[in-house]
């Protein structure tokens, strides 16, 4: 369980993102059509983007507050971010990617949970979409984040293989107890996993 | 992680290049003589004689007289300056770089009217009457040979007639090449330049003795600096008989 308190506005090209929610959850689902601002919200939480105003508090820590003029840089937020394209570093191999931000997490355990032992010496360009996602998950988890942000984790994987990825995410939740914010445009993915779902429609959030 | 393949390749390449060539960086020191391009050849031969007789090696820096003068004015450590143009020596003198009393007329030269070796007959008189289509000159505003050529033509009253037919070139070599290739009917260069070229014919000379208003001379002067003593010695040698023989053979006139 982690307390997530978000109250921000963030101007985009097409609309202004306004998100207001406070909840204690293990998995917060974020659902909305593409272009509704889901990625921007994750980027704001991760510290890659700065909201125009408002406040973000995760687990009792204030990550951003325009009132207090505080904005914790991304590298200090202890937030794991798995972006939509996985964005593995092309100049490092799989093991290099996974251990890039290592903060004392158990590499062997992660490799075991995510079935990565066969991939460790491989170059990133040779991986399939699903394999890249798993490596990206391991990379984020090696930093022992307080919360994990997943941006459309199944988007880069074809339908038949989706069921191969979801179990890994569930395993992470079960065995590592890392809270998740899970973003998707496919409502059905959230049924199995989310405690609470936030709907994002043209930049405005509401509880679903 | 920064040592990716391209970077590694690059660094090892640079290291190899530097290592293979490091000994080359050992540099000779000593007297540097800034010398106008048209006298460079002669100076090379003479400095060879100088080394044979005295064991002293003199470094020569050839160039356009205006560039050489500019360098000296800005403090370049040349010990001796031989200019193709009195104006440039004046510039250096005005800037206070010349050691007093050392400026001397080292050489004189003549202009030569040249035509392509297979060209039809042309004479100076016909040139002055305007009977050419294209006349190659060094840039009449800046190249010494061109400046003198223009002065001569103006004095003869032929400039207005010929001005539209003049094709200016930035260097004397370019003038010679233009004449050699037949792209122009005639050109005016130094006598010493014409002697170098095998494929032009000289059909006349224009000298200071006949035309007293033309002072086609090469001033030389010692430049203030650490090489002053050596420069004086070398200048003496340049005015001596051995050097004079070299200058004569190459077509330069006495001062």
């Amino acid at each position: 369980m982690i307390e997530i308190a978000i109250d921000i506005t963030l101007r985009q090209d097409a609309f202004t993102l306004t998100v207001r929610d406070t909840a204690s959850v293990e998995v917060l689902g974020l659902f909305g059509p593409s272009g509704s601002g889901k990625t921007s919200l994750l980027e704001a939480i991760a510290g890659i983007r700065t909201p125009d105003s408002g406040e973000i508090r995760i687990g009792g820590r204030t990550l951003f507050s325009s009132a207090q003029r505080s904005n914790l840089p991304a590298r200090e937020r202890r937030i794991g971010y798995v972006p939509q394209d996985s964005l593995l570093f092309p100049n490092l191999d799989v093991k290099g990617n996974i251990t890039y931000g290592a903060q004392g997490a158990d590499l062997d355990a992660l490799v075991e949970i995510l079935d990565l032992s066969a991939l460790l010496g491989r170059r990133v360009a040779t991986l399939s979409g699903g394999e890249k996602q798993r490596v990206a998950l391991a990379r984020a988890l090696m930093t022992r984040p307080s919360i994990l942000l997943l941006d459309e984790p199944l988007a880069g994987v074809d339908r038949e293989r989706r069921d191969l990825i979801l179990p890994y995410i569930l395993r992470i939740r079960r065995e590592l107890h890392v809270p998740l914010i899970y973003v998707t445009h496919d409502r059905s993915e959230l049924d199995t996993i989310a405690d609470r779902v936030l709907l994002l429609d043209r930049g405005v959030s509401s509880v679903a | 992680m920064l040592m990716t393949t391209p970077i590694r390749f690059l660094l090892s390449g640079l290291t190899v290049l530097v290592a293979l060539n490091a000994p080359v960086a050992a540099q000779p020191t000593g007297l540097v003589v800034s010398v106008a391009a048209s006298v460079y050849d002669a100076l090379e031969e003479i400095s060879g004689l100088y080394r044979a007789t005295t064991g002293v090696t003199v470094s020569l820096n050839p160039g356009g007289s205006n560039t050489l003068a500019r360098q000296i004015v800005e403090g370049a450590k040349a010990g001796l300056f031989i200019s193709a143009d009195a104006r440039q020596m004046d510039v250096v003198e005005k800037a206070g770089r010349v050691v007093a009393g050392t400026r001397t007329r080292l050489l004189t030269n003549e202009l030569a009217l040249v035509v392509p070796s297979d060209a039809k007959a042309l004479t100076i008189e016909r040139l002055l009457r305007g009977e050419v289509n294209r006349l190659a000159l060094g840039e009449p505003g800046s190249v010494p040979a061109g400046v003198y050529a223009r002065a001569w033509l103006e004095h003869e009253g032929a400039w207005s007639r010929l001005e539209s037919k003049v094709i200016p070139f930035p260097t004397v070599t370019a003038v010679l090449t233009a004449v050699e290739s037949g792209r122009v009917d005639a050109g005016i260069v130094y006598r010493t330049d014409a002697m170098r070229s095998k494929s032009v014919r000289t059909i006349g000379h224009i000298s200071s003795t006949q035309h007293r208003y033309l002072d086609i001379s090469y001033p030389a002067a010692v430049i203030a600096g650490p090489s002053e003593a050596e420069a004086r010695r070398f200048l003496q040698f340049l005015m001596g008989t051995a050097a004079r023989a070299v200058f004569d053979r190459r077509g330069f006139g006495k001062p």
């Binding site: 980027e43 991760a46 510290g47 890659i48 840089p73 991304a74 590298r75 937020r77 794991g80 972006p83 964005l87 570093f89 092309p90 100049n91 890039y100 931000g101 170059r123 | 992680m1 920064l2 990716t4 393949t5 391209p6 970077i7 390749f9 690059l10 390449g13 640079l14 290049l17 530097v18 293979l20 060539n21 490091a22 080359v24 960086a25 540099q27 000779p28 540097v32 800034s34 391009a37 048209s38 460079y40 050849d41 470094s59 020569l60 820096n61 050839p62 160039g63 560039t67 500019r70 360098q71 004015v73 800005e74 403090g75 370049a76 450590k77 260097t171 070599t173 010679l176 330049d193 170098r196």
Partner: protein, 222 residues
């Protein structure tokens, strides 16, 4: 190929190598700054960096001549401590550095701009400091562009003539590079000697193009 020709060629290559080594670190720093940061005066910096590219090399040479000459404070200070620049090999390197710097900086900038900033963002979320990100992600991913820029700068330095002749002169054995040598030999009426210098220059140019293509066309690794 006479011994003198080889000596001039080796001298030129050595000077260009030293110049390129000197240019790379500041070019990488400035290239990164222009690629990734916005700040007041950025346009001014861009203009200053591009100046040697826009000015005729002879003009750059004149500025350098004044800068290191006896009439400028820098020139006088160097003279006071006994450091000679004009008419020495150092002037050759300086001319090459000044002329090639904009080319290398621009290539570095382009190379870094091509690196997806999201990689840098992700690295930040993984706890890396800005310097670590630069060292481990940005520069390695831009290394092909940086290396190609270095080859470009090296080639330009090899062929540099206008500024070199102004501050270094054409003294054989001391400051005469291939390009300066070709010009001088032609100017003093010795074209035959110039041909062998020209041949070596052409060979070096081919070599540089070959290396550049290898770098740009390289697959894998990154």
């Amino acid at each position: 190929m006479s011994a003198e020709t080889w000596a001039i060629a080796r001298f030129t290559v050595l000077m260009a190598s030293i110049a390129t080594s000197l240019v790379l670190p500041p070019a990488i720093a400035i290239g990164w700054l222009l690629a990734r940061k916005d700040f007041p005066g950025k346009t001014l910096l861009e203009t200053i960096v591009s100046l040697p590219l826009v000015l005729p090399p002879v003009a750059s040479g004149l500025l350098l001549l004044w800068f290191f000459g006896r009439r400028s404070p820098v020139g006088r200070a160097l003279d006071a401590v006994g450091i000679e620049i004009i008419f020495t090999w150092k002037a050759v390197v300086i001319a090459m550095v000044v002329i090639s710097f904009p080319l290398v900086a621009r290539s570095v900038r382009a190379g870094i701009e091509q690196v997806d900033r999201r990689f840098e963002d992700i690295a930040a979320t993984l706890g890396a400091s800005p310097f670590r990100i630069l060292r481990t992600i940005t520069l390695p991913l831009a290394s092909r562009g940086i290396a190609a820029g270095a080859v470009l700068g090296f080639s330009r330095a090899l062929g540099e003539f206008g500024a070199t002749i102004m501050i270094a002169g054409a003294i054989p054995g001391r400051t005469r590079t291939l390009a300066v040598g070709i010009y001088t030999l032609v100017e003093t009426g010795r074209e035959e000697a110039a041909w062998s210098l020209l041949l070596i220059s052409a060979l070096l140019a081919f070599g540089a193009i070959y290396v550049s293509n290898r770098l740009v066309g390289q697959r894998g690794g990154l």
